[in-house]
Amino acid sequence: MKNPLIKRIPRELKSEWHKYLVIMIFMVVMIGVISGMYVGHDGMLEAVYSGRETLNLEDGSFELSEEASAELLKALGTGQMADVRQHFIDKGFETADKEWAKTADRYHLDEPHTARSVKIYENFYRNEEEDCNNDGKADATVRIFSSDSKVNMASFNEGRAPESDSEIAVDRMHASNVKIKLGDVIKVGGKSFKVVGLLSYVDYLTLHESNTDLMFDAFGFDVAMVTPKAFEELTSRIHYNYAFKYDKAPEDKVAKAEYSGDFLKALVTCTVVHDVEIKSYLPEYLRQASNFAVSDIEGDSAGAAILCYILIGVIAFIFAVTISNTIDRESAVIGTLRASGYSKTEMVVHYMTMPLVVTVLGAIIGNVLGYTLFKDIAKNLYYESYSLPPFQSVWSRTALVKTTVIPLVLMFFINLFVIVKKLQLSPLRFLRHDLVKSRRTKARRLPRWSFLRRFRLRVLFQNMPNYGILAFGVIFIELMMCFAFGLPDSLDHYAKEAPGMMFAEYQYMLMDSRDADGKTIETAENTAERFSAETLLYPKQKASFREGMGSGQDESVTVYGIADNSAYVSLDGKTKNGGVCVSSAFAKKFGLKEGQQITLNAEYENKSYIFTIAGIVDYEGGIAVFMDTEGFNAAFGREDGDFSGYFSRNEITDIEAKNIAAIITKNDIIKVTNQLDHSMGGIVRVFKYALIVMTAALIYLLAKIIIERNEQAISMAKILGFKNGEIGSLYIIPTALVVIAVSILGFFAGYGLMIWVFKLFMLKMDGYFAFYMSVPSMILSVLYLLIGYAVVSVLDYLRIKHIPMDVALKNIE
């Protein structure tokens, strides 16, 4: 015989539908959104990763001054270094040894070399002017590739590849920004083309025109595809760009760096021997246009993870309260069943069923919505930022684990704990409704207030445990409110403060301290000061919320070598004894203290550096380590006089652009906030409004519990002749007072918690900024909660009004 108690579950769901509907909506929305974010995230990454294979992404590329001969390509394909010395001798250079020494020194040609054989592809392009509205003015630079390219190919989000010579396919992101649609006619290089496709090139997920651009520009730069004949007919010069792929692919970042170094030696020597000039060389792993978006997406799950953890806490909490309340209400039935021979396990299983059923239902519906409706929210967030290939829906194991397995496991254990604890009592105590461990033997003495006031106070005291639960719930809500209000505030605040955080208005990072002729790069700018810099990685595994599929495991740290008596960074001689100073942002983010040792790793080499922290420099703009130039040179094996760039208060105009790798201004500092705003801004704003509804839902559930627990007393008060209004004031006013008090206290608790949660959140992101909330936001976060409660109290009043008098009469024992 099937346990007849099972039949209660669907009926309970039906009879208490409003309660379970609220819980279910709560779960479905949260699980749906988070599942959607993960599915969107994983699907997008899958699309990018699979595109790398199917669209044949290069391992690197180089541009030559002229088209390479078949011999040169053959030589490069072997990956062997050419004999440059012999070449100089053959050329009759009298100073062959000297020439060789110079070249060998510059490219470390004397060091051991392993030949990395490669397959080389032509990937020629032209940079043309694009006039997208046919007004005769150039709107953007467009990089044109031929449609017959066999490397770095494109996927089509809409439309198709050009088939006739007057057709063109342009980048989807650029098209969206400048409002180009399929069928439009645009002018490229003075010639009209009909747009037949919106594409995404696998090597241009972000539209970086040059690899040294700090930010991509999807308005002023475009990539496009035309037929080979149309490509031939364009007039601007051809860039002889060649892409290569290793015959045996390197396995990790360190190997990629080694391979790239080895191939560069072959490239340098072979081009010298074949009298061709290298215009550029870029291994793919350093290519911003193909990696920037990926690393951003990979690290993008931190926000979703935080939401997920808060959600699980809230749902588990609601269920614990609901179940505990149900057991209290059904105490006599439980006692009877236990006395009749139902075992504790049977009762535990019975009461566990409902939360698990609701969680499973919520998770199923949430996941279905996640894979359909909400997936598009995340997808669109990415599409608004990057030139990504068509989305591929994938089965996201992470989404399933985070939104279904973890909530289920948590539900299971939290409920098991609460129910087992509740059902520990003997059947007799259940029969007697004696569920409280200790009971006050004497009534509290109250001041001589009016009867109603004292009554309210009694209600307050009597419901203390319920109000405790309410307080817990309000803290959760406030935590979410602080998140919803605080994140945009923090982003704005940081962006506003950023200029003040710069220790130099301009930081010029040079390609090398010497120009092509070997001369040291100098400037006449008075305020310029030399500095050295290296980028290392700080491992942050202790903060990982989400393993796999994302890099996000290492923080990028800029190590500066600062000149003595620097006008920009004051080290106060602290680093003289071999120590280093860290930026205050670095110290705060990872809780670093003076005297502590930190280990930094080279990203592309198997090298580690251990430094002792001698001081903290007040710099909130980045994760940085500062040391004196001498210490820097010693640590990184640099020669005296070597440097990486200039700090300057004014713009430097006398250094040639080709020698500058990057100029760091405040835009670079606020990159982290821009990135966050890009990826989370929209969802946080939606989240804020969803929170008001959730707040009301949560208070509704909690206030319902208080009224339900007092149903009998309310019914009795009605029998005694109290009016609904009076009873309402007896039961609603104490709750209102508690909600107001607890909201204010909850705000402080939520705010404090959020500062801590934010710190964890920041660990997952690159860079650092502190949690900030403006005063209006603080007030609003409490006000929203109170507005939610005002709505609930109206419902409470209606509920009180509907409690019949026979509740008290039927239960006299």
């Binding site: 015989m1 009879s15 006395a339 009749s340 007799l428």
Partner: protein, 235 residues
């Protein structure tokens, strides 16, 4: 001559400590035979409900023992006690404690589920006069009807002992007599031993065995030779 089925020896139980200590059972001894209709009679505070709870294995004595069919309850652990209640006992309380979202038939099935040899649910419904109400929910029934369901839930298990704690305490005269008649019928029809706690003196007349309690001890332990039917009871 029927054999002793339930044996109670020197049963003591007290509540509280120090000055507040109250001895509820102060050494009780009696036996009940299989199939007997036994009434435990006494005023409030005489210890009858405590005694019933101890016999039912949901409370424990301070000393002495309860033995059912030779098995001593004090030697059973919690699991064995649950099994004992499951296999041998049926409980009827003054409050019906029905499951509100199960209908009459399902409430009775809750009892049937526990038994290895349950009675036919339909037959029990007929016996209790609940056939026409079997799809109703408890809140659609009168107090007397609800108590019938509660008896059905206990009887359907076909228990060795039917424990009734003031089963008519919340009912009017007429309904009380109907309920008593039902318990009497069940006792006759299914042969369960009935132990009924009541403070209603009149009920003793329908019992085989009357045990009067006062201040925690057995004052009278009588076999009723002039038993009348429930229908004949007057109070």
């Amino acid at each position: 001559m029927k054999e002793d089925f339930l044996e109670i020896r020197d049963l003591k139980k007290s509540f509280g400590t120090g000055e507040a200590r109250q001895e509820v059972l102060r050494g009780m001894d009696f036996t009940v035979k299989k199939g007997e209709f036994c009434v435990l009679l006494g005023p409030s505070g005489s210890g009858k409900s405590t005694l019933l709870n101890i016999i039912g294995g949901i409370d424990t004595p301070d000393s002495g023992f309860v033995s059912i069919n030779g098995d001593k309850l004090e030697e059973m652990n919690e699991k064995q006690l649950t099994l004992y209640r499951r296999k041998h006992l049926g409980y009827v309380f003054q409050m019906y404690n029905l499951i509100p979202n199960l209908n009459v038939k399902e409430n009775i099935e809750v009892g049937a589920y526990l038994s290895d040899r349950p009675l036919d649910v339909e037959e029990v419904l007929t016996t209790l006069g609940l056939q026409e109400h079997k799809y109703k929910y408890p809140n659609q029934l009168s107090g007397g009807q609800q108590q019938r369901v509660s008896i059905g839930r206990a009887v359907v298990k076909n228990p060795d002992i039917l424990m009734c704690d003031e089963p008519t305490g919340a009912l009017d005269y007429k309904t009380s007599k109907e309920i008593l008649a039902l318990i009497e019928d069940c006792n006759k029809k299914y042969g369960n031993t009935v132990i009924m706690v009541t403070h209603n003196e009149a009920i003793k007349n329908m019992a085989d065995h009357v045990i009067k309690l006062r201040d925690g001890i057995v004052r009278h332990n009588d076999i009723n030779t002039e038993k009348i039917t429930a229908a004949e009871l007057e109070w």
